[in-house]
């Protein structure tokens, strides 16, 4: 019996409905409008594509995770009744939650890509060599959206209390976006007599925000990165090795929390 395709079909249907639901909610428009505005303002202020891409990267690398987390938690809590309605239907739990998760993640990514893409395309992105930097930026930020929405679903699934859930989500963001780097910097300075290139690379891989930042550094700041002596560092940044490892790790960063969503969803009471 072709069970798997059947579940997949159901999941895609739920994805579709969550997606439509979100596409009609005013939050998607707010999010989309925000990025549209950000893109336009940056281009207007900088008058230069490359510089706008750099500023954009600085801004959205912390904003995208924040919005992904908050939106994920919010959507989960707000659609609780809808979820219960679905749970009473003959549908597999994993397909319900995966469908909802993908619906949120895809609609957020779409708002991001369209919101930023439209002003940059009008500004003449296709004629510029900033297009690769920009594409890489959008790809990594989409990854971040998928990762942080998944993390948000994890938090919401484990935490019945809405306020606490929001609190944890914000804390998680704060930790990964800022505190982690502070601790990272401190430990690098503390252990500066030791060879640190392995530690610094591992430290980067363990935090998806750092990881995405590194991917963008590979494009924008390769000249500076190649100034460092460590052999592992050199291999990582000097060849495609770094790019491949980073993308593989980003995929792992999506897969792990999604797996936990499935696992957690199977055991949860509603």
């Amino acid at each position: 019996m072709p069970l798997l395709p059947f579940y997949k079909k159901i999941m895609l249907k739920i994805l579709k409905y969550s997606f439509y639901d979100l596409m009609r909610s005013r939050w998607s428009y707010v999010y989309f409008a925000f990025y549209l505005l950000l893109g336009i303002v940056l281009l207007f202020l900088n008058n230069n594509l490359s510089k706008a891409v750099i500023t954009l990267m600085n801004v959205i690398i912390v904003l995208v995770p924040l919005i992904g987390t908050i939106f994920g938690v919010m959507y989960y809590y707000n659609s609780k009744e809808f979820t219960e309605l679905l749970l009473a239907q003959p549908l597999k739990r994993s397909s319900i939650f995966l469908g909802q998760y993908l619906g949120v993640a895809i609609s957020l990514s779409l708002s991001l890509i369209l919101g930023l893409g439209i002003p940059f395309v009008f500004y003449g992105l296709f004629k510029s060599n900033a297009i690769w930097d920009f594409s890489l930026l959008l790809i990594t930020e989409s990854f971040l959206t998928f990762i942080f929405t998944a993390l948000a679903f994890n938090i919401a699934l484990s935490q019945v209390n809405k306020i606490k859930g929001f609190g944890f989500a914000i804390l998680l963001w704060l930790f990964l976006a800022i505190i982690y780097d502070g601790l990272f910097l401190m430990s690098l300075i503390l252990f500066e007599e030791y060879p640190l290139d392995k530690l610094s690379l591992v430290g980067t891989l363990l935090n998806p925000i750092d990881l995405s930042r590194t991917l963008i550094l590979l494009k924008l700041d390769i000249s500076a990165l190649l100034g460092y002596t460590g052999a592992i560092f050199k291999k990582f940044f000097g060849t495609n090795f770094g790019l491949i490892i980073s993308f593989v790790t980003l995929i792992i960063w999506v897969v792990l929390p999604v797996t936990r969503i499935i696992f957690k969803a199977k055991k949860k009471d509603f």
């Binding site: 990267m57 800022i178 910097l185 500066e192 924008l220 000249s223 100034g227 460092y228």
Partner: protein, 411 residues
């Protein structure tokens, strides 16, 4: 007196009109360059026809013009030096010289000029050589439109493309040098002009000055060398309109200045180098109208540098604009354009109303613990950079550009 001059001129004219053309080829009277030189008279022209000539230790000891036709190949078969010029007024033109011998005791060159004046070496192609063109104790020469292609792998057993030693007033123009140790090397050589050359993929430096003064190099391109240009222990060098790019690596820079005084650096482009300019112990240098684009560090200042002026340069998208390893600053930055500048210009005079501080705390941290570079552009780093900007603790607090421009400078 007049008579003497007339007489001398007459003799000279007779001599010149006497000058003959000789040909070297498989079926000619002379089948080798050595024979032709041995039998030539002063101021003769020797035409070398197309073909391969297996010769080395060719000594040109009289004023001759040796002109290759359709690039004849002079193959040294790795046995030693190929052409040595020991006479004034020699011209070598249009030869394809390969397989110079290598030795640990002698610097064999494809073409060596020794203690001679008024020589011209042009349209020569050199391959598989140890040293390319080696000028020693010779003045007033011209090295024009040559191509030097080495196959150097390691510094200790490879030679330089074009080397000047105790030689003054030499013009080096329109040459292309790659894959040697130093593309062009000047030692104790003054008043030379190095212009419109391309020096790329060399193991050590694209261009290297040691103890050489009053030289000018301009409109050259230095790309992907171990380091672009090293200027050391020299005075009054003019560096104009050169391009330094893609010099990547640990100790890699577009330009290295060490113990350089009173130089002028103008109109150059430093693009995508790990370090644009690395400065040590260099004083009274004027940096004007240079572009620093996408470098890791646009300028890295190490130790005693006094009285340098950085005027009207563009600093565009460098990971770090300026890095200092001390708290002391005696250099002046004025009217530069900094793409990292975030201030405003309320009176619209094109000058930002808030001074720009080009040294960041993070560059200080990276100097101390290089691995921290991995945190570049992190929000946390931005926060600590900001706090340092507000009240400098680790970086020189008088290092400011008081008149940062709000638009990129075009000249």
């Amino acid at each position: 007196m007049k008579q003497t001059i007339l007489f001398l001129t007459a003799i000279l004219l007779a001599y010149v009109s006497y000058a003959q053309n000789t040909e070297v080829c498989q079926t000619c009277t002379w089948t080798s360059l050595k024979e032709a030189i041995a039998h030539a008279k002063d101021f003769d022209t020797i035409y070398v026809k197309k073909g391969t000539y297996k010769e080395y230790n060719i000594n040109i000891d009289k004023p001759l013009a040796i002109i290759g036709q359709d690039y004849p190949v002079i193959d040294g078969e790795l046995k030693g030096e190929i052409i040595t010029i020991t006479s004034d007024n020699v011209r070598v033109d249009g030869l394809f010289i390969i397989n110079v011998g290598s030795s640990y005791t002698e610097d064999y060159a494809a073409i060596r000029v020794r203690k001679s004046k008024h020589f011209t070496i042009q349209n020569v192609v050199l391959e598989k050589m140890f040293f390319g063109i080696y000028i020693e104790k010779s003045n007033y020469g011209r090295i024009f439109h040559n191509k030097v292609i080495g196959d150097a792998v390691e510094e200790y057993n490879s030679g330089n493309g074009i080397q000047l030693w105790y030689s003054n007033y030499i013009d080096i123009e329109h040459n292309y040098v790659e894959h040697v140790r130093d593309g062009i090397y000047l030692e104790f050589s003054n008043n030379c002009i190095i212009k419109n050359n391309v020096s790329a993929e060399n193991l050590r430096y694209g261009l290297h000055f040691m103890f050489s003064n009053d030289d000018v190099y301009q409109d050259n391109v230095f790309e992907n060398n171990g380091a672009g240009v090293a200027v050391m222990f020299s005075k009054k060098i003019k560096m104009l309109n050169n391009t330094f790019q893609k010099n990547w690596g640990t100790a890699s820079y577009g330009m290295l200045l060490k113990e350089i005084n009173d130089a002028e650096i103008r109109g150059n482009t430093f693009k995508e180098n790990t370090i644009g300019i690395n400065i040590e112990g260099s004083n009274r240098i004027e940096y004007k109208n240079n572009n620093f684009t996408n470098n890791g560090w646009a300028i890295k200042v190490r130790g005693a540098c006094y009285g340098n002026h950085f005027l009207e340069n563009n600093f565009l998208y460098n990971s770090f604009d300026i890095s200092y390893n001390s708290k002391v600053n005696d250099n002046k930055f004025d009217k530069n354009y900094w793409s990292n500048y975030t201030g405003y210009d309320l009176n619209k005079d094109g000058i930002g109303d808030v001074p720009y501080r080009p040294v960041k705390l993070f560059s200080y941290i990276v100097n101390r613990t290089p691995e921290t570079i991995i945190l570049l552009r992190s929000l946390f780093i931005d926060i600590i950079d900001f706090s340092e900007k507000v009240s400098p603790v680790f970086t020189p607090d008088n290092l400011l550009d008081h008149n940062p421009l709000t638009k990129q400078i075009v000249w």
